[in-house]
Symmetry: C3
Subunit: 434 residues, 3 copies
């Protein structure tokens, strides 16, 4: 499939998922996850009852909104949940009341500096009700009696999450984690689960994988904590690299956020890929973190997890508003987000330790490794071959060698294969970094 | 006491000490040290007889000047020691003679490029007599017979030094070393012993100290060598950090001079403090050294001793002249020099290794650690809390963690205390750097 | 001998060697090597029969050209080997034929962008015949019948190389390797063997050497491979540093090309020397390699071999053309190339680990180490003395100490000798880097 066709297919899936009102818990999350399951059979759905402890936390009540609106003094319905699910404050409790504009105001949320955007606001851990609206509309509200109506349940239920293990030659795993708890927003977050799903499909279709791959789809923060509370020992033992996949759908930038201390295989693969694919990419500090790497990289978990994004959460004006939509996220943006992660995974798969076997430079000509037609491209190939033979000395793995010789590792694959086939490079070890 | 009140008090003490003619040895040194003892009772005075060997050196004769002047052909007294003690060459031998201007000239010292400054000149290790004067006056000298008179003794006696130990929880020590051998000059040197004395008073008044503190007041070079010759084994065993305190009284700059190889606790605390307190501070190399770190950091002693100064010796035009006076040194300058050292000591006291105890991020809200009022400042506090919890993983001490998260360590104290009290941070070790 | 006299003597030897037609094998190589033997008696000539295997390679047939020319339709002789030996393609097979200009063209080599230069072209490993000529002349060729004549043998014979061992106190060796397989070109290559020879003469004339020195003169690539195939185990055991000597005769630049991973004694000495001798020197990556370091630094050999050049091969327009002549290479250029390598060798000889013996700074005055006359130069010497005493602590060798204190190591020799004689510095170890 061409990159653009793939981008279009991912964009279509975003479009299908867009209208659903997701939250930490509830039917919207389950419905969305089922749509992903329909496209990737190994994906399993799990549930954890409300009140279950998870380290320092407790699984919250399940929230299911059905309807919500405000009726103005002149009888118009505004902030209708049926029109845009961002109108309802996340985890809003039920209410049905009439009150003055003055009393209503503390329950309204809008952005004076973005008067045409509906903001995304939640109140997971303190009970309240509220509505989010365009500031322009809010300013037009007239004094009078307003009726507010929220039909929602907040009751014991379950928290759901999905996961899948795509087995490889080794029980060691690469973690791909994403979240599915935001209502109608596209870059943050639909791009994340959709690109992750297509990465899983690509991986599962490969004839062979060196590593096993773990796809995890959770509600953000509490979901990652719950997941870690159930799988921490195993993850610490197995995970050699991982990525939090979020904000991978716009076309404005490529971005990198390292693991807590940096320098892990995940960090090195990401930096290698972005250095070639998107020179000048935006590079953040772990101090700028804001998603589930907060849990995966906490001192107690300390997993080698980094983030490769397009434009980072919090760094684009549409973030957490109704403007983060399917015009901001594009087929080309999704394809680019996918490619960066795919390349990083290819690098992780390829990153073995090789050793040249000849004491001096070998004679390439007698093995037919010298191109018969001498072009600029063939010259580059010969140079790459000689550089690989010079730096593959059993002391560094291919990612480091590729960095030394200034070549994208994935472009070296045919050369490396040829040198292996002719006995000029041998595998010393496949997992030097452990 | 406010910073400025403290600065004024230190300036007053400088003023009291200013007129005394100090040198490597003699009554001036003793009188000055007694004035410091009057303000800090634990300070002891020691004496070492002339001729005592100290490593490669020998304690010199004691020098006591009483009077010195030149009488001009027309009967005026110039270069009168009674007027300014810089007029007499340090360690000048006695003389009473009449000679021509031509024969006098080799005994005169002045600065053509600073014609209104009396230079500070000494001849500790080669016997001579001499006078220092303003170049403007020297040029006005008329031919004729001059009478020179120096009444001074250079005879077996003692070299004095002072020290005090302020005990802490640990026998490990922080060294505060300063020198007291310069006559009437203010930045180099009175600021040094005065700020050191007030640091000792502050430390002694603390309810508790993690480390013991050793205050050492010596004549420069020979005094440090004598001190090391008597205490080297103990100092090498106990000293975890130290500072040579000199040139800490002007307002022009903050300066740093590292230990011989850098990177010690003293260096790291100083760089941390100055990076926050005085961004753009002047940073010198150990090759620019010039005070007692020459001895403390020599390969045979190798103590972790750095220097935190205001404007460094040799780097301001008034240095080693009569212009280094109590206008150059100010209450604000002294207060700033004091604060930098005080902060560095606070950092050293705080620099323990902590470890977060929750496997993921803890829930701050249920512990009341989330601010009830959300302000910009409270946002910073929450961020600092999360960053501390992320980086305190038992592998680095707080100075390193504070550098990673970009916060002045001393401002984090209440946050760290709160996290400890709630069991979210535990002490792993208090002295990782040994 | 003055530098310039030495430069002139080296230039004269280049002039003597210039007309000889050298190649990988053959009489020209032997004749050239004999001329070097005449100036350095220990230099031995060795021979290896054609067909002898050398790792992945085989010693090629021996090539001996005698005459070569083209006769134009109007009876003129052009491309005459007797006029300039670059006219004949290196390793050209014999031919005697008449053919059209059209059929001749594929056998002609010229440089459109350098129309007055005869290019240097070879075909070692694929049989063909050909001529190299100025592009300006080539464009003037008229249609018609051309007669081509190459009288050359390509037959079993030998490959020759030269080597010499100049013994030192230690069996550990410094390798000086150069090549002698290029016909009439001066910077690349005659400067290499000539400067190497004079380095060997200088070394042999020293009263004493700490290391043994191995001079190796080979045909490039195949010669280095043959040499390694016969001596690898010994070289790996003994060689502590080495330089490939090439392109050391022009005046345009000083250049450095590191060993494969850099940081060896050879790299550090070269960087130290060039940093002082030629600030702003051209610094290349090992990726820019192109001479026998390709073999010496291959993973299987891994010798600590770097290159110190004037203008690097491939980086000047005259490279591999008839314009690389004895006007490009000058006495001053050769003297500068010689000096850089000589200084690097001096640094390698001096690079021991010293330790100061006094616990504090020693008293220089009582040992007469303080200059009696105080000048700017004597001040620098005292500073250098104190800095040496501060940094010689037994943990780093002199090259590192000299880098720390910012002084050229070779200028510190008298100071170091004086401090050793007075017992202030002791040798801890002479070969810390092994």
């Amino acid at each position: 499939m061409s990159d653009l066709a793939l981008g279009q297919e991912m964009h279509d899936l975003c479009r299908d998922l867009f209208p659903i009102c997701r939250s930490l818990t509830g039917e919207g999350f389950r419905q969305s996850l089922r749509m992903l399951q329909a496209r990737f059979e190994p994906l399993a759905m799990h549930e954890v009852p409300s009140g279950t402890p998870a380290f320092d936390w407790t699984v919250p009540l399940e929230w299911n909104p059905r309807a919500a609106w405000i009726e103005t003094p002149d009888g118009r319905r505004i902030c209708d949940f049926a029109t845009h699910n961002l109108h309802l404050l996340g985890y809003s409790e039920a209410v049905d009341a009439e009150l003055s504009l003055e009393d209503l105001q503390p329950h309204l949320h809008s952005l004076p500096e973005q008067p045409d955007a509906i903001p995304y606001v939640t109140s997971y851990y303190s009970r309240r009700w509220g509505f989010c609206m365009r500031h322009r509309e809010r300013e037009a509200l007239q004094p009078g009696r307003y009726r507010v109506h929220v039909d929602a349940t907040l009751a014991p239920g379950v928290l759901n999450y999905g996961d899948a293990l795509i087995p490889g030659d080794s029980p060691q795993e690469v973690l791909i984690s994403t979240y599915l708890c935001h209502p109608s927003m596209a870059n943050n977050e639909l791009s994340g689960p959709v690109v992750s799903l297509y990465l899983a499909r690509w991986l599962a279709a490969l004839p062979r994988r060196r590593y096993s791959y773990r796809l995890v789809i959770v509600p953000e923060t509490i979901g990652a904590i719950v997941y870690l509370s159930r799988h921490l020992a195993k993850l610490r033992e197995r995970v050699v690299a991982g990525y939090v996949v979020t904000c991978v759908g716009d076309e404005r930038a490529h971005s990198f956020l390292p693991s807590r201390r940096g320098g892990t295989l995940a960090d090195r693969a990401a930096l290698h890929v972005l250095g070639h694919l998107a020179p000048g990419f935006a590079s953040y500090s772990f101090l700028d973190r804001g998603s589930d790497e907060r849990q995966y990289c906490s001192p107690g978990a300390d997993l080698p997890v980094a983030s490769m994004m397009r434009t980072k959460y919090g760094c684009y004006p549409e973030y957490h508003t109704s403007l983060d939509d399917l015009q901001l996220v594009t087929p080309a943006g999704l394809a680019g987000g996918f490619e960066a992660l795919q390349r990083a995974i290819e690098c992780i798969e390829m990153d073995e330790v090789l050793q040249a076997r000849q004491p001096c430079e070998p004679q390439l000509g007698k093995r037919g490794l010298y191109p018969t037609l001498s072009t600029k491209e063939s010259g580059r190939q010969v140079q790459a071959m000689m550089d690989l033979l010079a730096y593959c000395d059993g002391s560094e793995s291919l990612l480091q060698v590729a960095d030394r010789i200034g070549q994208p590792l994935w472009t070296l694959r045919p050369t490396i294969e040829a040198l292996k086939q002719h006995g000029l490079l041998d595998v010393v070890a496949g997992d030097l970094w452990r």
